[in-house]
Symmetry: C2
Subunit: 108 residues, 2 copies
DNA sequence: GCACTATTTGGCTATTTTGCCAAATAACGA
DNA sequence: TCGTTATTTGGCAAAATAGCCAAATAGTGC
């Protein structure tokens, strides 16, 4: 793998890595409904606010979410909602569905 | 977040985590074209074969790929090609496209 | 200015992940 | 059986990640 390809896949991995944590997935799920401030998310998740803040900065750094300041509060929202499509595929992987397989259903 | 929700998002994260590495993304990309044996992939990637084998087992464990033994060789193929949809979204995140935003393009 | 609240940052430890090497396993043919 | 090749596994050290606490920063109102 040449350096150029390496760099491409590293850039891609960075985005997916940002999604690769239960808390961050939960945050994305929450933000798919409406924007939320850090305190809201902290209440919903139940870990230290500083931890939530760090998860948010990972997602923001990756370009998945963006923030908006309103007074002392910072509201986060989804920037690229297409990440929600991940869930659809993840669910079918979890259900163990084999796609485009020769044998879609084995009865025996 | 209650234990049930926690478990759900952990299960989801496990799948996404399996994709969250440049080498593993490269493998998935390779397997999207055709099935490949470990030696093929090792040549294409350029790391130790044992490392490739471990990456493959992560992907297999997650249910993303499956294998087929042919003599001494083990051929891997994509089990759930929907993971390729990740790339489409990842590319638009990389291009910095804001989706469903109030201001789709700022000219100033 | 001070006090108060919301959020971020720094620092620390614990845990997880990565990738190499060497050894083990498996399949094949002589 | 032995030798060879393809792959996996075990073990280890280096690096990355996670989450807590405490401290710093920022905004608001007095």
């Amino acid at each position: 793998m040449d350096a150029r390809t390496q760099a491409l896949f590293e850039a891609r991995a960075k985005i997916i890595k940002a999604m690769a944590h239960p808390t961050r997935l939960f945050i994305v799920d929450q933000l798919s409904k409406t924007e939320r401030c850090v305190a809201d998310l902290t209440d919903a998740i139940g870990v230290d606010m500083s931890t939530v803040s760090k998860h948010l900065s990972v997602l923001k750094e990756a370009g998945i979410i963006e923030d908006r300041k309103q007074g002392v509060q910072v509201y986060y929202r989804l920037r690229t909602p297409c990440v929600l499509n991940f869930f659809t595929c993840v669910e079918s992987v979890l259900r163990g569905e084999i796609q485009e397989s020769i044998e879609p259903l084995k009865k025996s």
